[in-house]
Every structure is written in C-alpha cells, then in structure tokens.
Symmetry: C2
Subunit: 375 residues, 2 copies
C-alpha cells in the first residue's frame, strides 16, 4: 500500500542498485530500489537526458506518458513540444531515497529484520538522494546529463548534483529553493514532525501493520499547505467566505472555506503519503546547506571550473524560499565564476507557483535548455 504508484502512472519502473549506498551519516544501505519513469528517447550519443528532481512529497510521475495516464505533477512543463520537450529530450524522474512512492524508504522492508524499517531507517540527506539518482543515471548508461532541473526540495537536489557530480551536469535549473534551510523553514518542518510524533499511533515509527498516525500527519500537511500559499493567495482564494453556510455556526467544525481546504488537503495526503517519509525528507531539507557541503567536500575551489550554465528562478510571493534566498544561490555561484542567470517571476500564489502553469517559466526554460544545446 505504501509503495504506491501514482494512480494511472503506468510507466513506473523499479531498478535495484547493485552495490550498497554509503550514506553521509556513515551507514550503508543494501539493496536500494529506485522507482523512476522516463519520457522520450535517449539519443545515440546519450547526450539528451534531463533529470527532473521532485519536491518534498512528489513522486516519479512528473508527466503522463501514455494514453490513460493520470496527469503528472509537472504536466504543463513536461511533454511533447513543452518546455521540457520529450520530443527532443530523454526525461527521467525518480522518487527520492527515504520516500514512499517506490524508492527505498522507512516503509520498505528492512532485509535484516524482514519488517519495515520504520525509524530504524537511517537519516538520509539531500546528498544521499542525489547519490542514488546518480546510480540510476549510471544504470541508464548516461555519463552526463544535459540538465538537472527541480523546484523546492528538488532544487536542493539540483544544487547537490553540482557539488557532488559537477562533471556529469550539463546545466542546472533550480526553482523556488534555497542554498540552506532557514531557521523559519526548519521551524515549520519541526512543528510538522512534532505533530506526527505526538500522534500515539506513530508508536516511535513502528506503526506498519497497525493504525497509522493519520491525525498527526494530516495536521503536518495542513502546516505545509499554509507555507505553500501566500497571504494574498489565501485572501483571493478564500477570504473570509464560509463553506456551505451564511452565518457563523458557533461551534468548532470547519466553517470558513480556508478551514475546509486545509481539512481536505490533510485528509487527501494521509491516503497517499507515509508519515515516516515526511519525517525523513523534511529532516534532509533541514540539514541542507550547500555552502557548508561545498566547504566540507573541498569543492568550493572547484566551482570556478564548472562551466555549465545555471539558472535560478524565484517567485515574488514565495515566503518559504523567498527571492532573497534564491539570490543567495546566484551570489554564491557568481563568486566562484559560474555562468548563472537569475529570474524572478511575478506570481501571487506563493511557493506553489513553481508547480503551476506559467507562460513566463515556459519561455525561460525553453530558451535556457536550447542555449545548453549549443554550449
């Protein structure tokens, strides 16, 4: 149940890595499986591959592939003739390590015990996720990706690719992201985690086969959804309108539309996501600090050697990873001579903007990826 494939996503494949994955915390994970989907055709030179990295609760289903497929989470950007043009590029998207959409995570069976890992699963980092993605790219026979693209936590993975495998990255696009998780973002994540671990059903992470911590996970998701919108977006979308009534009920049921929306988002999420995976992926995001990572890995000096073009995109109303944080990425890259472009897109819908249809992003991405062809 928890290894769910997005409904209607007929194209998901699973690859089991040959060797162990050595994690940043020193642990080794054996038999890691990676769920992924691909679109388009890899050319003979294996030079037209684009890797898409998904955000916190995403999956490998970035776009529909065949007739009858459900739309993907980036359907408007990925497909024939779209910005990430599957007629030109071989596009790959895999579920992250620690996730619950087919790739090994806390709900996977621990080979040592024969039971799901739960919180015996090691705490993984964005760097670990990227290491697994690189192993998948190896498996697909690709030395160098034409581009690595991702928003939010996916953008962190893009930055980590540049740190860990610079020679394998033709170009990078990071949207609505940050080079290090801020105290505010850590705070939101920690409150979401506390909501989960406070649910008695969480049972210290070993709830598989029993009741899941659905109430705690639902509240955690509501917190997330507040950060994905914006004051203005909420005002336009809901204002103070009541749901299915004209007057206050003077009770504690959801009566404002914004309350109904949050309840709906919470309930929907519980059906598709594993609470422990939310703990692990938010933790990986909190640990993320690319400058620290570059320093620790001695890669800061090598930055100047990176000659691939890089694009950073922010959104005006994103207050989770605001424009100033995206600009910090640009500053860091510029300091080390990377060919980096920056674009702030006017949008009133908050952090979620990067997932929504945008002519502006389509134009920018199309131009940027085309530029990469001639680099």
């Amino acid at each position: 149940m928890l290894h769910a494939v997005t409904q209607g996503a007929s194209g998901q494949q699973v690859h089991t890595l040959d060797g162990p994955v050595t994690l940043e915390n020193g642990d080794e994970l054996q038999g890691v499986t990676v769920a992924f989907e691909t679109w388009g055709t890899l050319d003979a030179a294996k030079g037209n591959a684009i890797l898409i990295c998904h955000a916190l609760t995403g999956d490998s289903h970035a776009a529909s592939g065949q007739d009858g497929d459900a739309p993907g989470w980036w359907e408007t950007m990925v497909g024939p003739g779209r910005a990430i043009d599957t007629d030109r590029y071989f596009v790959i998207c895999s579920n992250v390590l620690g996730g619950c959409m087919g790739t090994t995570g806390p709900s996977s069976v621990n080979p040592e015990t024969g039971r799901p890992f739960g919180t015996d699963f090691p705490v993984v980092t964005i760097g670990d996720m990227v290491r697994v993605q690189a192993a998948l790219v190896d498996h697909l026979g690709i030395d160098r990706l034409h581009a690595v693209i991702g928003g939010s936590v996916g953008g962190m993975q893009v930055l980590s690719w540049c740190r860990q495998f610079p020679e394998r990255v033709g170009s990078g696009v990071a949207l609505a992201t940050t080079m290090r998780h801020s105290a505010l973002s850590i705070a939101f994540n920690e409150v979401a985690r506390q909501s989960i671990v406070s649910d008695p059903n969480w049972n210290k992470g070993h709830y598989y086969g029993g009741e899941s911590p659905a109430l705690g996970l639902s509240v955690a998701r509501m917190i997330g959804h507040i950060t994905y919108l914006s004051d203005d977006a909420m005002h336009r979308k809901f204002g103070r309108r009541l749901q299915d009534r004209d007057e206050f009920a003077f009770d504690f049921d959801a009566e404002f539309q914004v309350e109904s929306y949050l309840h709906y988002q919470g309930a929907k999420f519980v059906d598709r996501f594993d609470a422990n995976s939310l703990l692990y992926i938010t933790k990986a995001a909190d640990y993320f600090d690319i400058e620290q990572g570059l320093r620790d890995s001695g890669a800061l000096g090598r930055m100047a050697e990176l000659r691939h073009p890089f694009l950073v995109v922010s959104y005006t109303s994103d207050w989770l990873y605001p424009t100033y944080q995206n600009r910090e990425i640009v500053s860091l890259f510029k300091r080390y001579g990377v060919d980096v472009s920056f674009c702030e897109i006017e949008a009133s819908c908050g952090h979620d903007a990067f997932l929504l249809p945008s002519d502006r992003l389509t134009t920018i991405l199309t131009g940027f990826l085309g530029k990469g062809d001639h680099a």
Copy 2:
C-alpha cells in the same frame, strides 16, 4: 489548577457579575466571574481610568504592583512614570471571557452540571469579551474610560469597544492588530486547533480530571510562536546553529536551536494554559470582523459621531497582522471621520514586537495619552 493566577501576582481580584451575560450566539451565561488587576488610583471624577486588553494567551497581570510581584506581560509600558503612567492613571486589566486565568471559561464549573464546561461552554466572540469588560468597568463605577489600549487580539477588543460602547471610550490605541481576521490567520488558528483536537486526551473537550491534551497543545503553541517571530528575527536569533553539539546527530531529536526554542515554548505553555481556552479564544479571533460588526449593529453611520482620538500602531516585520492590515483600520476610521493617527514602528522581531521594550512606542503612547487629557 487551571484557574491559575500568574505566579507572584498578588493583586488579582475576582468580581462576579450580577446578572447574566447575553452572548452573540444567543446563549446566556450566568454567574460570570472576571479576574482583574488594577494599578494607580481612580480620581474623584472617575475620569482617569485606562483599560488594557490582553492578547491571545495573556492574563490580567499586565504589570507588577507590589514588591515581590512577578513582572507583568507589559511591564515596560505600565507603571509609575512609564508610558501608561500609574501615577496619573487608574489602570485596569482583566482576563478575557473564555480564558483560563481567573475569568469564566471552558475550564470553569458549569453550574448546571457541577463539572467543568469543557466544550459545553458557548462559543464566545471578541464582542462578548468586551461586554464582560464593560460590566467590570460598571462595577468599578466608571462611566467613561480615558483610554482603551491593546495589541493583537487585545487590539480587536479595543476596536470592539469603539463599536459597542463608543460613548464610554475617551480614546483608543490598537497595536499590531487587524480589523478582520485574514484567511492566513484563520488557517494558522485552525491548524493549532486541529493539533489540539487530534490529541486523544482532548476527549472532545472533556478532559478535566484526566490527562490533558498536552502534546497537541504544545504543537499548537509552536505554530503560534512561528507566527510571533519573523524570518529575519529567527535568522538572527537562531540561524542554523545547533544546540549543545557541533555536528548533526542524524536522528529526530531537536538539534537546531530553533527546534529547542519551539520545544521549550511548547512545554512551558502546557503548564500555564488550558487547551480548550486556546480553542475558544482563537475562534473568537477568527470570527472578528469589525466592519461586519459595525454594519450588523447599525453603528457604521454613528462612526462619524465618535470624536475621540484613535491611534493605530503597526510593526514592519509583523506578518501575522501586517502593516497593510493595520492601515485598513485607519482607512475605515478615516472614511467615517474618526480622528485617527497611524504609526508604523521599524522592528525586526515580528508580531511579538508590541510586547517588547520600545522607546518609540513609549514616546508615541505618552504623547497620545497626554493629548487625550486635553481633548
């Protein structure tokens, strides 16, 4: 235990209202008790009284009164020679209806059952809180208050005083507040409420005498504390610093300082506040819409008759009730000819700024209240 008086607050008095209080939802509450404190001396003309309205989780203890008293929540503003000068003014502060600091609320005993109300307590509004305050002011023999002052949810009470008892308000000061709760603020409150009601110990509100929903209440408080600070304040206060360690632990204990801070605030709150009171007072804030209230009560047209000066103060980094929302109050009052002044104070510490020492606020308040003397 729940009718706790702030530790060291020796001056709290309790007044039991003579008649019933008729609430906005139509219910009647019998035998309402109001916990309050006073400072200074009421003059012979009974014209020097100032009512201070506390915020969400405050109490009557705005300031210390006698030697040995604990400092109050607005200690820097209230006292001899301070902005709200207890050498000149007779200052009153009472705990709100629905609270848990001495005034009747959900943890009070329901006279009909002999057991605590729990969620049998009626859902109250900001207007109901003000009605109880007015009864207290009656009891103290005061016809007209020199000023009504409050920040945040206390500021909503100030606005409600102007709507319900305009002839009894000499002047009003509303800080860091809003004329109607926004969708974003409702969203934060609803997630806090959901965190409480998801705790199995909440038991539909009837937990008195048993285990209290401490875990849910703690998470609710953490959510609140995120909204009281600001991105910048959190960055300066905590950044990405770790608590008592140099390296990541790769586990789910609190390790960032901001996490420890939130845990501390959550745990501290559980000891002093009743979960049901948080449900009731946040709900009252969500219902708050002074323009709607003025319209419904036919008081909009009377606004032009209000000749008392009014002061609105906002803080630059407050994103719970941002400057634009405070300006909306100013616009509304101006539209109806009220003598309203506005000041935005530069502050990097977020919504909490109104509670912190501020030379700027001291100067503004001192001048404004003095001006009122000659009005």
